[in-house]
Amino acid sequence: MWKGGPDPRCLLLTYIVRRLLVAIPTLLGVATVIFSLLRLLPGDPAITIAGPTATPETIVNIRHQLGLDQPVWQQYLGFLGRLLRGDLGISTRTGAPVVQEIFTRAPFTAVLAVTSLVLAIAIGVLAGVVAATRRNTGADLGISGGAVFGVSMPTYWLGLMLIVVFAVHLRVLPAAGADAGALSLVLPAITLALFSMGLVARQTRSAMLEVLGQDYVRTARAKGAGRSAVLVRHALRNALLPIVTTIGLQFGALLGGAVLTESVFAWPGVGRLLVDSISSRDYPVVQGVVLLLSLAFIAINLLTDLVYAYVDPRIRYS
């Protein structure tokens, strides 16, 4: 029961509000970086975007469309104003609003990233716990070695190799696209998950090793608590903090990794949209996708911090 002092729930609320406020300058900074990208293009961005065969009228049109004929401060304020209204401009490639382009693709990236995250957490945490409890055995060596391999593997290469084995030779899974439902998700999800799986396994192993050496774990064992109860209730629960941090950071890494994985498997998400847009110099879409993925990343980091504060009673919300 809570006795005296400020209400802890109130403190948590203050903490959340404070964290949200701190995120504002970061958001503004991200928007500024994204705004600058187009302006930092060498030479005249309108000419670059229009391509070598463009007529002078096209270039003038593009310049006007992107607002490049206005003073920079006006462009910047206009950019921020449109962002607040959720207006990311028009794709120079398709003529459709960027928001629409992104939102038809975002669900694909979300499904891929979440599936991979679940895979990475489930297998990574399990493998890490097994390695820690069987320290210096063959199982530990295998898992630790596998984890280093996982974090060193170029995902784009792994994806190609999986395509060669399962789509070309065995012909059991589709090589590309998202037309075969859940089946088409298998290879991309495994490919994207491997790196995070390795990191989660490594972090879980070291966090568990640290906790397993603590007095309270020895006490729990001594009082006769069952093996799995000690592992889950006493050890894993206390090892959870660094694992939560790793998982939070990994979700961001997954969003970045999705760019490469989607490209390998022709998965119709925002990552592939980004790569296609860079190749066709469709800068409004490039800006939009980078902004969206960064926003998602910031939101996830915020969420991780909050989960962290919730999981660890030692963290004071001050």
Binding site: G29, Y156, T245
Partner: protein
């Protein structure tokens, strides 16, 4: 901090900074020599470096010159890994590629260390608005998933070796800022540093003689791990066609171009990827070994 403490700044490395100051370097080397994975890592790197210099003396093919009559040759004594779509020897291209990969990795991490270490040291040591500014900028860089920032930068700067190095280098700055700042914060409070300050030792001297050397151990560990990450990202850019441009034999670019032939000649995809994997693995293993050798808590 608006971003959770990164996985790279967790207690083992913070502890490691105390280690270097208190133990002779020979002990670190002794531990490293008996660390199996570190030795495997060093071994792989030695093979890469040797092969990239000696290999082209054995297999005297031009890595760039096309010879369409020899396209898609299978594995044979004359071409140990076969030839590519333009009739170039795959092994020779990989051997030359090792140089680009190593240069890319080291140059990018040099940018990260060169900017990240001073910024982190100044930010942590002086505190106040300098720290606030440094940390907000770092937050902004960290708000982009790393490959995304590199992609956005390359989209702006353009492709090619130099721009890839700059882009990947910028993405590796924030890790070092955070690492050195954390160390500077603790060093600032040490009695002998305070004493030095009271005696009027210039800040620059304290920074160079105490703050930076104290963060050396975690920076070395992180630099090794960051080399692996930089190589992965640079090759990823190449894979997407946004890195070092062909005909330069860069592994990521070679892998990206092999995608067109994975149904007919999967070798062309297998070997460049294996080469990237080996390099990244080597730096990760060395990084792990360095961490263990520098962390007294694990002994």
């Amino acid at each position: 901090m608006s971003i959770p403490v990164s996985a790279t700044a967790d207690p083992p490395e913070i502890a490691a900074e105390v280690a270097l100051a208190s133990q002779p370097r020979s002990r670190v080397w002794a531990r490293l020599r008996t660390h199996p994975s570190a030795m495997v890592g060093f071994g792989i790197l030695a093979v890469y470096v040797l092969a990239s210099f000696l290999g082209p003396l054995v297999f005297r093919y031009d890595p760039i010159h096309q010879n369409l009559a020899d396209a898609y040759l299978p594995i044979s004594p004359a071409h140990p890994l076969g030839t590519d779509d333009l009739g170039r020897d795959e092994l020779v291209r990989l051997l030359f590629g090792a140089r680009y990969t190593l240069v890319l990795g080291f140059a990018a991490v040099a940018i990260g260390v060169g900017i990240g270490v001073p910024v982190g040291a100044i930010s942590g040591y002086f505190g106040g608005w300098v720290d606030l500014l440094g940390q907000r900028v770092t937050d902004i860089l960290l708000a982009f998933p790393n490959i995304l920032l590199a992609l956005a930068l390359v989209a702006t700067l353009g492709v090619g070796l130099q721009n890839v190095i700059i882009s990947v280098g910028i993405t590796s700055i924030p890790v070092f800022v955070r690492l050195v700042r954390a160390s500077a914060l603790s060093v600032r409070e040490l009695p002998y540093v305070e004493a030095g300050r009271a005696l009027g030792v210039p800040s620059l001297v304290i920074l160079l003689r105490h703050v930076v050397p104290n963060s050396l151990a975690p920076v070395i560990v992180q630099a090794s791990l960051q080399l692996g990450a930089a190589i992965l990202i640079a090759a990823g850019l190449g894979f997407l066609g946004l890195g070092v441009q062909s005909p330069t034999p860069e592994w990521g670019t070679m892998l990206g171009q092999s995608r067109g032939y994975i149904f007919s000649d999967a070798n062309l995809a297998t070997f460049p990827g294996l080469a990237i994997f080996g390099a990244v693995l080597a730096f990760n293993l060395v990084g792990d070994g360095l961490r263990d050798a520098l962390d007294p808590r694990l002994q």
